[in-house]
Structures are given as C-alpha cells and as structure tokens.
Symmetry: C2
Subunit: 206 residues, 2 copies
DNA sequence: GTCTATAACCGGATAGAC
DNA sequence: GTCTATCCGGTTATAGAC
C-alpha cells in the first residue's frame, strides 16, 4: 500500500502524526476527529476522505505503533554473546525507548482491553525471539555463570522493573517525591544502572 | 454522606456495582450511562437522579477504588520485624489483590492521564508509609543483612515485578504461551515465589 | 484533493407523570 | 423513588461545490 513513511509532509503524513498524538493522549474513545483534523491543519471532511472512519484510522495507527515497538523489543533479544551483555543492552534500550514514548504502553494496554480479538488476530503472526535468549540462559546456567532461572519469569522481571517507573509516573512522582518533577527525572536517570546491578546480583551464584 | 457500603442491595449499591464494572471494562470515555443503567436493572433517568452526571458518578467510583487500593498497599508497608518477612507478605498480598482486580491498575493509570489535576488534588492528602520501610531497610543494611539499596528503587522493583504479569496479561499469554490460558495461570501462580526468591538473592550479601 | 454545509446519529441530561 | 418520553448538544460521517 503506502510506502513506509518516505514522503514527508504529505497530507497523509500530517494526518497520521496528528492522529497518533491525539490517540496517545486521549485514547480511541476520548479522541475527537475534529481535534485530529485541527492538529493536521485540515478539516474533518478531508480526514474522512483519507481514512473513511475513525475506527479504520485508529487501527492503522495501532498496527504501526505495535509493530514498531514489537520489532524494537524483538531485535534487542537477538543473539548476544553474553547474558550480562544482553541485560545491559536490553535494559538501557528499553528504558530509553519508553522514556521517549511514555504513552505507548498505556495505548497498547487500552486497546487490548477494548478490542482483544482484533489485537490477538493482528499479532497472531508475530513471533518473539525467545529461543535465542533461552539458549543463552541455558548456556549460562550450564557453565555456572548464573543460577537456574525460568526465561518467562526473567523477561517479566526485566520488563516489569523497566516499565513500572514509566507507566506509574504520576503515582511515583506524587507519592515518592511529593510531586517534584526533578526528583522523578533523577530517579529515572538512575533506573537503568539500578536494574542492571540488581539483576546481576540476583543471577550470579555466590 | 452515605454509610460505607453497609446496606446491601439498595438501588444505590446496585448502581455503584454496575458503574464500577462498566467503568473498569470501558473506561470513563467508553462507558455508557445506558449500559450502567441496564446492569443495575434501572433506567437512565433514575441513574441521573442518584448521581446527576456521569462525571460525578465516575469520580465517586474512582475515589472509592483508589482509596481502597491505596489503603491495602499502605497497610502492607506497615512496620514489620524483618525485611524478608515484609517482602514475603507484600508480594503475596499484592499479587493476590491484583489478580482479583486486574482492571484496577489500568483504570487508575487512565484517570491519571485523563485528569491529572483532579487525581493529584484528590490524592494530595494521602501519605505513603514509606518511613517504616525505610527504617527497616536501613536497619537491615547496618546489620549487614542486606546490601545497600535505595527505598524508591526497591519499591519500584517489587511493584513492577508483581504488576507486570497482570497488566500485560494479553501480551504474555499471546507471546509467551501462544494464547494458552492455562499456561498463563500457572505462570501467575508461580510468580510470588519467583519474585520473593529473586529479591532475597539480590539483597543478601555474598 | 480540499473545502463548506449538513445529514444522521448517539448519548447525556431533564421534564413531568405516577 | 421510579418511570416514559423527550430534548439538545456534540460527533461521526456524507453530499456536493470548487
């Protein structure tokens, strides 16, 4: 269909950018076609000319966003020589990408609740590169570099620890730092190193 | 105002139950007063008679839910004799409560994005029992029971690892277990023990 | 492709009888 | 307190001119 975001500044590109920002902020149900049109610098009629319905426009955005995030995560699970190198790269990348796109986790979670069938159907053909990581973990276990651990739990640990500060930002800022934005930012800046060293300590045999 | 949920089966109670379920599933923007009325077994007019506007009804629910969850978390941070006892109790309780109320995290996060001012204002007077935990951690550090650690990061670690499997359920079920519900459930059942032992290993000095 | 104007609909809220 | 009927504003979507 359309070439992958090559021509910048076409009307379609402006619409997609505008729609993404509105859907990220307001969600599918809270978003207004009028606001998308406004941000794109066009009118509602033209918006419908390009994407017929709000639902179609939303799905278009969702598919793009999900695939791009999935790919990012998936690539960083690629074969690495050493498990601790993997941890370091993954944690840093994951936190950086999330910090730059803090709306995305919530955006995806909302759509899963709103329309689980579509999401499962759409993501059905995607496959996670878990095998490589699994091999790396098994190798590390066999050579006594790490204690025994389950891949799924390990992935949930690492992702959970990275994701939480992003998704719970308002709570953390309010209850940990009395609403202070700077303290939150410092916390986030120190997060990668903390998670990496915690995982090392947890995995390396005594 | 109203006594804390004492009289069961009054119309007001039925409305609150219905509203909670609809708001949990659809969010504020996706919820429909008609659907709430239907689930409560009444009509829209009566719904408005009790709570005047959708916004007021939503805030009523939100305040109740938030306060109850906050209280639960806060109580489990209360003074404990031993840090590892705290970890064990907190992780088990937190995962159990979340499993029973999987919609709540998303519900709260959405409202923070939708209406941050209201949430900050409403939660402004609530205070987290962090001090007790902090003392316990410092004591454990001084007696060399654990390695040095920061309270905020520690809380983010423990909450992130517990929350992730709940909030990302569809993703985990799809990409970890090829959509199999049973495998997900087993994963969740084993989660508490995994998190507890991981934290112990990470904290206890070699 | 892009616009103005408007149709068609939906959903929150109210009036008023009982 | 509870209902039926209705209003009215907002939102998606379309018609039709340029």
């Amino acid at each position: 269909m359309e070439n992958k975001e090559e021509n910048i500044n076409t009307t379609e590109q402006q619409i997609l950018e505008a729609a993404k920002s509105v859907f990220f902020e307001k969600g599918m149900d809270g978003a207004r076609m009028q606001e998308i049109a406004d941000r794109a610098g066009i009118n509602k009629a033209l918006l419908h000319y390009y994407f017929r319905t709000k639902e179609k426009l939303f799905k278009h955005i969702f598919e793009n966003v999900f695939q791009s995030i999935f790919q990012t995560v998936n690539q960083s699970i690629e074969q690495k020589a050493d498990l601790f190198v993997f941890i370091e790269i993954f944690v840093k990348n994951y936190i950086r990408v999330l910090s730059q796109n803090p709306y995305i986790p919530n955006f995806i979670i909302n759509e899963m609740n709103r329309n689980p069938k579509f999401v499962v159907e759409f993501t059905g053909h995607l496959r996670l590169n878990k095998n490589n990581l699994e091999k790396l973990i098994i190798k590390s276990m066999e050579t006594n570099q790490i204690i025994p651990i389950n891949v799924d739990h390990f992935l949930a640990d690492i992702m959970g620890m990275c994701l939480f500060p992003i998704i719970a930002k308002p709570i953390i800022q309010e209850f940990f730092f009395d609403g202070d934005q700077n303290s939150y930012q410092q916390f986030l800046d120190a997060r990668s190193e903390h998670v990496i060293s915690l995982l090392k300590k947890a995995l390396i045999p005594n």
